[in-house]
Amino acid sequence: MRLGWLIGGAQGMGVDTAANVFGAAVARAGYYIFGSREYFSNIKGRHSYFNVLISDKQQRSIDTKVEILATFDAETVFQHFDDVTRHMIYDKALEPVSIDKVRSIEPETAERQAGILAKAGLGNTIGDVAAYLSEKGVKMVPIDYGPLMKDIINQLKIDPFVAERARNMICIGASFSLLGLDSNYINGAIEQIFAGKQKFFDLNKLAANAGIKSAGNAYSLKDLETKGHRVQLDGNTISALGKLYGGLRFQSYYPITPASDESTYIEANQVLAVNSGKEKHGVVVVQAEDELAAINAAVGAALTGARSATATSGPGFSLMNEGISWAGMNEVPVLVTYYMRGSPATGLPTRSGQSDLKLALNAGHGEFARIVIASGSHDEIFEDAVTAMNLAELCQTPAVHIIEKTLANAYSVVDKEAIITETRIERGKVVYPEDPEHYKRFKITDDGISPRAFLGHAQMYYTGDEHNERGHITEDSANRTVMYEKRIRKRALAEKSLGESQKVNVVGDADSVLLTWGSPKGAIMDAMELLKGQGIAVQMVQVRLFSPYPAELMKKLLAGKRQIIAVENNSNAQGAEVLTEQTGIMPTNYILKWNGRPMARDELADAIKDVVKNNTVRVVLNGGK
């Protein structure tokens, strides 16, 4: 069972909060939730929305089409009316408003959406939209928001400007009524989310209950039995939790979307309970002056033995290149959490993309072993964050953990154990030398890993220049040959340290393989479920570890396949390009999308069908608003 619900509104009008309350409320009835967030690079006024998927099983994707479109402004109606299949909640008073009166809508969007109405011989008002949808069998749920809001303002005697932010809660209430779930769940969710803020609790509760009375039961959802606990977490927070659990104690960052939320969360919770609450650990979080300072401060901190990291996205990562190169040269374990967004340049700063994979793999001048891990869904991020820090320390080299914007800003309601896994901490060859004055930080060893002491515990030298075992500069040619190879030889240890499923996630078994990495995993897994019912079998091969690349494993997995279909959120299929570079294997078909929006299950299922049945070489998706 899958049911899609979409709420939209102007940025700053509490769409996020509304979607969180709604998700938490539906979750209380025993449902799993996946909520995907879209917003503009803007503080107030532009259109943002949450597409929330409700299911009786864990899901990792949305559909472009939703059953319920929940609106309280005009723009959301115009933006999304062609996405709804069963119910639209809207403000009755807005019926005369035409699309050209909505100033925040982009002209390209307005023209396209008005075109749909014109093609049906209609005008371009909200009333016309209602007529268009009614004709298609979508049921209208008009609400008189104005009088309801006036009532609330009078009852609570509050500033209408403050009250305005609860308008969305009327919409949430009406949505909940349509689902037919117990309204107590909404009150419980409001109580949790607005804990300690009595004024907002009262306001939102009143608004939600006004909404509940404005619509009737249409879906008759039943309460489901649950076992254990479920958590509601977004990707930024999961990464932060993974890093803290994995022992992160120093994080420096420069503000950038969509990475900063992680650092802000860590700072807010920087005093950690450890050893069952008996002690406290403090995590130092530094807002640096730029990304150059952010990476280099993290590298400096790592030299003292603290697990250190930074978090950034494309523009910031570009600036970090030189620091990553220094960390490679000096064999410093440092983690960069790379929140990938739409590139190049500023690109689509609040949208998603996978076009920086090769940057992550090649960042920093020079050749050295490095770790690059890409998470495919919320349930991989926590473990991957710990694993990335482990590999960085085991191999004494920088690690990059890729999390796309679409996962960072989406939330899941899932079983707690699906996210919070008891991942072990491995710190590698750490030593406290007995003869600290003659310690050799870069001692040549069989596996390329030198026993690592921390600043303060031994006499040691680091330099970005080529150096000898002691860490002093030398340009000697024989030393260069040996030291250079040492920094590369470490790859073997990284490969040995992970199990196959941590390197490559394989789901299903079929002749047609969907070769992917990162967030498309969610839509693929959910589409596979859908296609199974239609007799179409495909296999997913999702690369999780990109460096060192599991070339032999990939050759084994892809041997003899009829179709290798690259599924990625970019135009060059960069993940598949890496496969070709490492194994000589070429994909046969492509399903690609680079409009900044996540792959949705419905559009992907259609594309897979097309490729599997007709052997279409390249399908470009464009779903999502």
Binding site: V231, Q232, A273, K280, V283, V284, A301, D476
Partner: protein, 302 residues
């Protein structure tokens, strides 16, 4: 080659001002009894960047990137505030490619000692004008007179929030040593701007040129009460801008009433000074010691 163990190894040009700073640094470390257990030398790129490799004595060194030495130093200091972190950087390093970090270090006031090797040229790249070379000056490898105005390190430091600001001359090794010692022991961000000849590329600001101009400041530079701050800053900036036929040396400004960055962190993390990041044991035989219960509970919906 273990350069520091062979103290005579050094590849600076004969007569380089860096030798004076090196002697000052070595003596300061010795007199302060600092070694690798409690101090780290951090450096940038350029002739000055090689300093940690050339210091004799049991000390650790981190030779970093061009312009970024303060960022590395900040990370080291904040992860392990028990270490004295001493930064050596060039004038191009500090006031050109790294000037953003220089200014930001003042805002934080972490206890770092920054020693700038200020010779007005980029020596290792064959003598281009550095950010401290005066407008119109033409040293021997410049194709034309310098068309950029200079940064005044002392004034920029004072206005950026440095709480210890001093100037020395490389060949006055006694003064250099004394100012480095004060900077290292200072609570807060410290600058020692060391004027130095570059005998290879700077044929204008030579040893003789400096010797004719330098003299010791006698003003009391220290802020003893917050009400004096503006007056002492003004005095420091006035002294910094004395026309170049006279070059005052010594401490221009000192203020230990401003909380250090470590103290600001400790206000948020009560046990920070004892149990700082580098001192924390994050696992017990591979099991995380971190207890996420409270954080996860607040996100538990059912």
């Amino acid at each position: 080659m273990e350069a520091n163990e062979l103290a005579e190894f050094n590849d600076w040009c004969p007569g380089c001002g860096d030798f004076g700073i090196l002697r000052g640094m070595e003596t300061a470390l010795k007199e302060l009894k600092l070694d690798f257990t409690d101090a780290v030398l951090v450096s940038g790129i350029g002739c000055s960047g090689k300093m940690p490799h050339f210091v004799s004595g049991p000390i650790s060194g981190v030779h970093t990137l061009h312009g970024r030495s303060l960022a590395f130093a900040m990370g080291i200091k904040l992860a392990n505030p028990s270490l004295k972190v001493i930064v050596n950087a060039g004038d191009g390093d500090t006031f050109g490619i790294g000037v953003g970090h220089f200014v930001s270090a003042g805002r934080r006031n972490a206890s770092l000692a920054l020693v700038v090797h200020d010779n007005r040229v980029y020596g290792l790249t064959k003598g281009q004008a550095s950010p401290t070379m005066p407008l119109g000056e033409r040293t021997k490898s410049l194709p034309r007179p310098n068309i950029n105005g200079p940064i005044n390190p002392v004034a920029l430091a004072v206005s950026s929030g440095y709480t210890f600001v001093a100037r020395s001359f490389a060949y006055d090794t006694a003064l250099t040593k004394d100012l480095i010692k004060q900077a290292v022991m200072h609570r807060g961000m410290a600058l020692v701007d060391v004027l130095q000849p570059c005998p290879t590329y700077n044929d204008v600001n030579t040893n003789e040129w400096y010797r004719e101009r330098i003299y010791k400041l006698t003003d009391d530079p220290e802020v003893h009460d917050e009400s004096e701050t503006l007056a002492k800053m003004t005095q420091a900036i006035q002294n910094a801008y004395i026309p170049e036929d006279k070059l005052p040396l010594g401490v221009f400004y000192k203020n230990e009433l401003v909380p250090t960055y470590e103290e600001r962190i400790a206000a948020n993390i009560p046990n920070y000074m004892e149990n700082f990041p580098a001192a924390q044991k994050i696992d017990e035989n591979g099991s995380s010691v971190t207890d996420l219960k409270k954080l996860v509970d607040s996100r538990t919906v059912i």
